[in-house]
């Protein structure tokens, strides 16, 4: 069983500009896979590289398996090779001057307690990643997907305490990415590996992560299981980043526990779930996903009537631009048939449980 990773108040400041990682806290219990998700430049890769020891943190503590590997305040900095970690790089980083076997055997040869039966270990690991027959091939003759398997085998072969994966699938084409993603989950779970995985791709995050941490501008906004990230986003950025692209602006009328009533002006009132301490009179933004709007239905709550302004048929789905009471919504209807037209009034229902209200912090929070 592998051990856990604990990160406390991690800060990384580069020579110029503001902190790339700004007070991040989280832990990864043994055997769990945590995915850091966020747009480029959010600090997720820097966090990962700090854990690997390839970047030197400015402050905070990183412990792997109960051992502190980095704590600048006390002058602790363990080099990458002493951290007992494995890492899979975005560019694969397989060594082109070595064969598949030599690549995978390399860590065993250069680790203090790596030894043992090297070729047996290499064979087993190549078998695990599905490259059993490729051991003597030159890595330059492999496809991108196969190279990434070699990289994975190389980082698994010595059974490190912690496996770090830095956007390992982003250089592959779409089809292969989906296949390797599912296989990666199988391999990681089969080996019981503790993993920290960095990606900007939501579908990877959802499939691979036991928990997902959404990052933005160096801060960890929410760390929760995938279903919670998608259904109870803690923050308007998380909601927006995971696909809740509709935003309705209004004012808070009242709040009862996790439920708030928002005045949308001409459109009327809307009931919404909220994770924040909103007070009556606060400016609020209500986020909801395009596919959660029920068009042509009049439900018990949050029912409105509006007009379809534009219809965009996309084959597998249809997108409608809907206007109601001065607010605009994008509505997504799945299926190959478009059922609504652009003429006349149409009923729409915004299920209160799927409308999430957040404090309106101006334009910056929305992008």
């Amino acid at each position: 069983m592998s051990s856990a990773l604990l990160i406390e108040d991690l800060v990384k400041r580069f020579a110029t500009g503001k902190a790339a990682v700004d007070g991040v806290n989280f832990d990864v219990p043994a055997g769990e896979i945590v995915v850091l998700l966020g747009p480029s430049g959010c600090g997720k890769t820097t966090t990962l590289r700090c854990v690997a020891g390839l970047e030197h943190p400015t402050a905070g503590r990183i412990s792997i398996g109960g051992r502190v590997v980095s704590e600048p305040e006390r002058g602790v900095l363990v080099s990458p090779r002493e951290r007992d970690i494995g890492m899979v790089f975005q560019s694969y980083a397989v060594w082109p001057h070595m064969t598949v076997h030599q690549n995978v055997a390399y860590p065993l040869k250069h680790r203090r307690n790596g030894g043992g039966d090297i070729s047996a270990k290499v064979r087993d690991t190549l078998e695990l990643v599905g490259l059993g027959d490729y051991a003597e091939r030159s890595v330059t003759s492999l496809s991108g997907g196969q190279m990434q398997r070699v990289a994975l085998a190389r980082s698994l072969v010595y059974r490190p305490q912690l496996l770090l994966l830095d956007e390992p699938l982003s250089n592959l084409d779409a089809k292969l990415r989906v296949r390797l993603r599912d296989e990666l989950r199988r391999i990681l779970k089969q080996t019981g590996m503790t993993g920290l995985y960095v990606t900007h791709d939501q579908s990877e995050a959802v499939v691979l992560g036991d928990r997902i941490g959404v990052m933005r501008e160096g801060k960890l906004l929410q760390m929760a299981p995938p279903a919670e990230i998608y259904n109870r986003p803690a923050d308007s950025f998380v909601a927006n980043f995971t696909g809740a692209s509709n935003v309705l602006l209004g004012k808070v009328l009242e709040r009862k526990g996790e439920h708030a009533t928002i005045d949308l002006g001409a459109a009327g009132r809307i009931e919404a779930w909220t994770p924040q301490q909103l007070s009556p009179g606060d400016k609020a933004r209500v986020a909801l996903r395009a596919e959660n709007v029920r068009l042509g239905e009049r439900g018990p709550a949050n029912a409105f009537s509006g007009r379809v302004i534009e219809r965009r048929y996309q084959g597998m789905q249809t997108v409608y631009d809907v206007e109601f009471g001065g607010q605009r919504l994008e509505v997504l209807e799945l299926g190959t048939a478009a059922r609504h037209t652009t003429d006349g009034e149409i009923a729409l229902t915004l299920p209160p449980d799927q409308c999430w209200a957040y404090r309106d912090e101006g334009q910056t929070a929305a992008d």
Binding site: L54, R81, G86, F89, A93, G114, Y158
Partner: protein, 587 residues
């Protein structure tokens, strides 16, 4: 309506075709003829010289007795073999040293946090601009076994050790120090283009920084190391100045100095010189071919189209050690030789009673400068050099533009042959070009021999591959569609070249021409065989001073040359920068 346009079209093309049809072949033929005249004819004459025993000066070309026996006899000659092995040893040893220095420097500059890296990177290229003979002269002043300044200093310090740069090891040291930048250029760019995660993966795998360098980093840039060392070997092989200054006093001949010795014989052994020149060319051609093969092979280290964050290793306090290594190198290749030249040029006599005598100001004067400028040859050689440089730059620049445009931007038949012919001189050392031009023109009365034009044409031929390559790079940066847009607008081919290509490629053209000028000013190897007393150039006159044995005048003239080169380089840098800005405004 459609009917009229269909009828109209053939008529138009019918009118334009005849002239078009002739223009391209005429153009290609003209270029091929020029290149044949510049490159092929002299080479053929060189081969002719090597396989015959007729003296072109006395016999003209009437008496031609071709026979391979002469060529074979030359190859079997004891002295030729000795010169050949000396050359291999000096260049081989020099290359090994150059690889060590070049690799160390590229690693220091690209991969560590050594302070003032930019300065180190820039300054370490200085040796490329030092004319080989000037370097040789400086080191003979420093390291001659009896009177060398280094040995005077050692004696003063009471150390028994003495340097002797008039030796094979002296040659190897100077070669290695001055041609390390060739290796550096290749390895530094390979390191820069290398995905840093290849090294990080090794570190995460548990390998130490030291293991990583030798199992991952160096193997990955092996092609660049090989290409750089082959290039530096080829360059050293063709150098005349360093072995002339350091080898001659110890009677060590390499191929280049041996060839010149043959033509300076009385009577001159032109046939033997041609045969040895062909041997030198053959070795060079094989190495150049090998280098091109290595370069065209798939490079391990680069991943196309990806920018990497430069990875710099934190050396801690050791970064001052790497910094001081760099300083020592710069001290040895730049500062020490400069000091030596300055002392030798300004001292009446280069003899020191003891070390304190170095600071005896009464011993210094302008006497050597006065005496070289009293010599009318000095001003004439400077003037000649400028003329030759100017002619070379203009003719070479125009020819390279014509060739580069034809190769890169047109689809005319025969452009492959133009490409091939203009690349051949890459494999011909300057000295061989000199011997070939000698053979090509010495027997023709009233021809080019004895004029400065033969020097300029030899330089054009020698440097045409570099110039075409430099220009082609700037052509590639100009998108084909910019030209096509002008054609669509109704401009003809020449109009397009004039209004689009020339203005956009101007920085490249100015840079290539100025490069040609500087190369021509520095060139010694090919001038050696082509000058006459009226057409002496600076590099040749410097050799004269050196061989005349007057160290003071030699050092003084070395300084004059260096100053002229520095001023020229500064001026040309300023000029190409200005041109680049001008183009920036125009674009």
């Amino acid at each position: 309506m459609t009917a009229t346009s269909v009828e109209a079209l053939p008529a138009v093309t019918e009118v334009r075709r005849p002239s078009r049809r002739l223009a391209a072949p005429l153009w290609v033929t003209a270029l091929l003829l020029i290149l044949t005249f510049l490159v092929i004819y002299p080479l053929l004459m060189l081969v002719f010289g090597a396989v015959s025993d007729s003296n072109p000066v006395i016999d003209g070309f009437g008496k031609f007795n071709p026979s391979l026996t002469h060529f074979i006899a030359v190859l079997g000659n004891e002295n030729v073999r000795l010169a050949f092995f000396n050359a291999l040893m000096a260049c081989g040893g020099g290359t090994i040293l150059a690889v060590v220095i070049g690799l160390a420097f590229s690693w220091i500059v690209v991969r560590t946090n050594t302070p003032f890296k930019g300065f180190i990177a820039g300054a370490s290229m200085i040796p490329l601009f030092v004319p080989p003979l000037v370097a040789g002269v400086a080191w003979s002043i420093l390291g001659s076994p009896k009177t060398g300044l280094l040995n005077t200093a050692l004696k003063w310090m009471g150390i028994d050790f003495r340097f002797d740069f008039y030796s094979m090891s002296g040659l190897i040291l100077v070669f290695g120090f001055y041609y390390a930048p060739y290796v550096y250029m290749f390895t530094a760019s390979a390191l820069r283009n290398m995905d840093p995660s290849l090294e990080e993966a090794s570190e995460v795998s548990g390998a130490s920084a030291f293991t990583t360098i030798f199992t991952v980093t160096f193997p990955l840039i092996a092609p660049a190391i090989l290409a750089g060392s082959l290039l530096s070997f080829v360059v050293m092989l063709g150098i005349y100045g360093v072995p002339a200054a350091l080898g001659a006093p110890a009677n060590i001949s390499v191929l280049t100095t041996y060839i010149f010795k043959l033509t300076a014989w009385s009577p001159p052994l032109y046939n033997t010189a041609a045969a040895v020149a062909i041997l030198l060319m053959f070795v060079t051609a094989i190495l150049v071919w090998a280098q091109q093969r290595v370069l065209s092979g798939r490079s391990f280290a680069t991943v196309a189209g990806k920018a990497f964050r430069p990875r710099s290793l934190n050396l801690g306090p050791w970064r001052w050690f790497t910094f001081s290594l760099a300083l020592v190198y710069l001290f040895v290749v730049v500062v020490l030789p400069t000091i030596a030249l300055v002392i030798a040029a300004f001292r009446r006599f280069l003899f020191f009673k003891d070390f304190d005598a170095v600071f005896d100001m009464k011993a210094y004067s302008w006497v050597h400068f006065n005496s070289i400028f009293d010599n009318p040859l000095t001003m004439m050689s400077i003037w000649n050099t400028m003329k030759v440089g100017f002619i070379t730059a203009v003719i070479g620049g125009l020819l390279a533009f014509a060739i580069g445009y034809t190769i890169n931007r047109t689809h005319v038949a025969g452009r492959k042959s133009i490409d091939l012919l203009s690349t051949i001189p890459v494999a011909i050392p300057g000295l061989v070009v000199g011997v070939a031009y000698l053979w090509a023109w010495i027997g023709l009365p009233g021809g080019l021999y004895g004029t400065i034009w033969i020097l300029a044409l030899a330089f054009v031929a020698r440097f045409i591959p570099d110039t075409v390559k430099a220009l082609s790079t700037s052509f590639m940066q100009i998108h084909k569609e910019l030209e096509e847009a002008a054609w669509v607008c109704g401009r003809g081919l020449l109009g397009t070249i004039w209004t689009i290509m020339l203005p956009l490629a101007r920085p490249g053209i100015v840079a290539s021409m100025t490069l040609l000028f500087v190369l021509a000013v520095r060139e010694l190897g090919s001038s050696l065989f082509l000058y006459t007393s009226d057409t002496t150039v600076m590099a040749v006159l410097l050799l004269d001073y050196y061989e005349g044995g007057n160290i003071g005048k030699t050092a003084a003239f070395s300084l004059v040359q260096t100053v002229i080169l520095v001023v020229l380089l500064g001026f040309t840098t300023w000029l190409s920068r200005g041109a680049a800005e001008g183009a920036g405004r125009a674009g």
